[in-house]
């Protein structure tokens, strides 16, 4: 745990906290590798494995002297060592490697691998049980959706766990300012949009969920809901049409709403315009926030621009297909070499910053009908986000690390 002390990221600190203060107590013993045992405690303060050992042969260390005793290792360790010195050497090497990797900024990846090794039997049984219950609910239709079509069961049980590795290990999202997200009332998260495909919407939404446990309800463009599959899944994950009516309705219910007012102009902007905010729609989101009298949380996402650097926009193809743009992204030049693998987004390092909420109660709900106030407030939100973007861009070491 010593190297944890120097970690300054809030996300990592939270991870560490989670690990330390989970609802169920962990086993108090140390494994043969010298790391704290990751099994759940069942018998007082020891897990099944260590309790059994303690009961049979005194201290856990005692039976390690016998060569034959090495076999019934804790299944949790993942390092079923047959030869003690060998295993210790390997563990040392692993630790050294992990330290080095952490220093180079690959900490999340190391933690991810560690988490795999640390899966215990009880965890596995529990996980499989949850999976079974989920399958049963899906097969029998035993789940609730809301009027917008948000299927919370599907989202939290299946989709969020699927996207989490992307968030944690692929783009290694680091976020700060999450204390600005409202926990128990309505709010409007306004963020920049980039990256050719709206991955930033999915990741930000997940990030908000990880910090607050709330589902940010996204507002999407018409095109999203016209497109087969995309529209269906957008609705099921809680998105709805970007119209004043739907937004008002969501905020009335006290939901946290997320908008990307740049829309396709932001998503499909060329590489040379990266991190330059486009026009913020027509300020509809500000009018909505004013009507509902809820705070606007300006949010800057750094890193999403680099997932698909768009070098050219095939306008003719886009027009023929009825799309807002048709991108040629940098990866496509690697197609002959890498094949379809080249179409993966680039693993840039992301930083999400939630800025200080902009209060709307000072203006009063009638201000929603005053175009001047709406424009001013729209510009203020836009400038705030642009400033946050610049600050975070200055602070990053490199695009990928």
């Amino acid at each position: 745990m010593e190297q944890r002390a120097e970690v300054i990221s809030i996300a990592d600190a939270r991870d560490a906290r989670d690990r330390d203060t989970t609802a169920r107590p962990r086993c108090a013993a140390t494994t043969d590798a010298g790391a704290p045992c990751r099994n759940y405690a069942t018998d007082g303060e020891l897990c099944r494995v260590h309790a059994a050992r303690a009961g049979h042969a005194g201290t856990p260390r005692a039976d390690r002297d016998e060569p034959s005793a090495a076999d019934p290792e804790a299944p949790s360790d993942g390092s079923s060592s047959e030869d003690e010195p060998m295993s210790e050497a390997a563990d040392d090497a692993y630790e050294r490697l992990a330290d080095e990797a952490r220093r180079r900024g690959w900490g999340p990846l190391v933690d991810g691998l560690g988490a795999f090794g640390g899966l215990s039997d009880a965890d596995l049984t529990e996980g499989l049980g949850d999976l079974l219950a989920f399958l049963r609910r899906r097969l029998t239709g035993d789940y609730e959706i809301d009027e917008f079509g948000f299927d919370e069961d599907l989202t939290t049980s299946l989709l969020i766990p699927l996207v989490r590795p992307l968030h944690r290990y692929y783009w290694r999202v680091r976020s700060h300012g999450e204390e600005h997200l409202p926990l128990d009332r309505g709010g409007l998260v306004v963020a920049n949009h980039a990256g050719t495909l709206p991955a930033d919407a999915i990741i930000t939404r997940l990030d908000i969920f990880e910090h607050t446990g709330r589902h940010a309800r996204e507002l999407g463009a018409d095109l999203v809901f016209r497109t087969p599959f995309v529209g269906e899944w957008a609705r099921k994950t809680g998105a709805t049409l970007a119209s004043g009516d739907d937004a008002d309705r969501l905020l009335e219910r006290g939901e946290l709403v997320a908008v990307w007012p740049e829309g396709f102009k932001g998503l499909g902007k060329p590489w040379k315009d990266r991190y330059k905010l486009q026009r913020f729609g027509r300020g509809g989101f500000v009018a909505t926030a004013l009507r509902a009298q809820i705070p606007i949380v300006p949010t800057a996402i750094v890193g999403s621009e680099e997932i698909y650097p768009m070098v050219y926009d095939l306008r003719v193809v886009a027009r023929a297909l009825g799309l807002p743009y048709f991108p040629v992204v940098a990866q496509m030049f690697a197609l002959p070499v890498l094949g379809p693998l080249a179409l993966l987004p680039l693993p840039s390092k992301w930083v999400i910053e939630y800025g200080e909420p902009i209060d709307t109660t000072a203006y009063g709900p009638e201000a929603a009908d005053d175009p001047m106030t709406v424009f001013d407030l729209t510009d203020r939100v836009r400038d705030t986000i642009q400033g946050m973007l610049h600050r975070n861009l200055m602070g990053r070491r490199s695009v990928f690390l």
Partner: protein, 356 residues
């Protein structure tokens, strides 16, 4: 009007109209009840007078006048072409029929209330729709053909009638898809099929209204004074995919280009009626807001959308391919197996340790 209501119901041979008539017969404040239709009703009615006439017949105007009718409940609105005998005839019955009826009503001095059984189909079904329709919202793309257009036109005429006769309380009830053990509708017939067709890549949000709720709402509208437009639907929303799973059926997603073809095949087979204007509905669905029904009309539906659907499945004896008890049993058995395996592994490791 102290001696009670004199009610005329159009389209009396319909299932819903029969139930409404029976509900009204049971009330003391309804003194006389007339039913108009071309076909004789098969319901068990006691004191309803049956008038065999088309709504377009001048005879209806005479009945209205002679019987001193004060409330007209207009239920003769066909929702599918096959029920009316062709699309042209359906349009004739729905729109022209309503026009003629309203023309007759205008000349009746005793008339105090007009209740129209409208439909939420008036909102159409598009991807630009708001998540939930309030009564005041006009859809960005109104329905351009089929039942939805009929309903929109009928509502237009009824609204105009309300403007001409300000002393008449006009109640328009926009019902979500009606389901029940005795009703048959285009939507419910989908579940007659062994596999339920859906549109690939789309999952419509659905809302249902239980027939008992529909009858209660119509009864309340006919015997009270509730002018205005009201959405009527059970609480909550179901996805089509979810409804299919609740019924234990299997969905067969059909790619969009083939949907019209499959629909006409199904229609020709005679097992289910999928009117072409329903296809948009199967893509995007529709949800309506029922706040006004609860607040202003004063009725809270007894059945939620899910309960309505489950009741429908039970009453229609829709036998699922996927039996729910089986699924629950499988879950339990597999979970037991996993736990047993975990236990065995643990015991084995302990045994080896202990044997040492």
């Amino acid at each position: 009007m102290t001696d009670g209501r004199r009610v005329l119901i159009t389209g009396i041979s319909g299932q819903l109209a029969g139930q409404v008539a029976r509900a009204l017969e049971a009330r003391d404040d309804v003194v006389e009840l007339y039913g108009v239709d071309v076909r004789e009703p098969h319901h068990d009615l006691r004191r309803t007078e049956f008038v065999r006439a088309d709504v377009r017949n001048p005879l209806v105007a005479r009945v209205l006048d002679v019987a001193q009718i004060d409330t007209v409940v207009h239920l003769a609105v066909a929702s599918t072409p096959s029920a009316a005998g062709g699309r042209a005839r359906m349009k004739e019955l729905n729109v022209i029929g309503t026009m003629q009826l309203l023309a007759a009503c205008q000349k009746v001095p005793s008339l105090r209330g007009f209740v129209l059984k409208s439909s939420a189909a008036v909102y159409g079904s598009e991807f630009t729709d708001p998540a939930s329709f309030r009564e005041s919202v006009t859809p960005r793309t109104p329905p351009t053909h089929g039942f939805g257009k009929d309903v929109a036109e009928i509502e237009g005429y009824v609204r105009a009638f309300g403007r001409r006769r300000k002393d008449v309380d006009v109640t328009m009830l926009r019902f979500a898809n009606l389901l029940g053990g005795r009703l048959d509708s285009a939507f419910s017939s989908l579940f007659n099929l062994p596999v339920v067709p859906s549109v690939l890549g789309y999952d419509p949000r659905l809302q249902f209204c239980h027939e008992e709720d529909a009858v209660a709402v119509l009864e309340r509208a006919a015997t009270g004074s509730h002018p205005g437009i009201f959405n009527v639907a059970g609480d909550g929303v179901l996805y089509l995919s979810q409804a299919i799973r609740l019924a234990g059926r299997i969905a067969t997603p059909v790619p969009l280009p083939f949907v019209a073809g499959v629909a006409s095949l199904v229609r020709r087979s005679g097992r289910a009626d999928v009117p072409s204007d329903q296809l948009r509905f199967l893509q995007f669905g529709r949800v309506v807001d029922t706040t006004r029904l609860e607040r202003r009309f004063g009725y809270t539906p007894r059945y939620t959308t899910r309960e309505t659907f489950q009741d429908f499945v039970r009453r229609k004896r829709i036998r699922g391919v996927v039996a729910h008890d089986e699924v629950i049993r499988w879950e339990r058995e597999i979970y037991d197996l996993i736990q047993r395996k975990g236990q065995e592994r643990f015991l084995a490791s302990r045994g080896r340790q202990g044997g040492r």
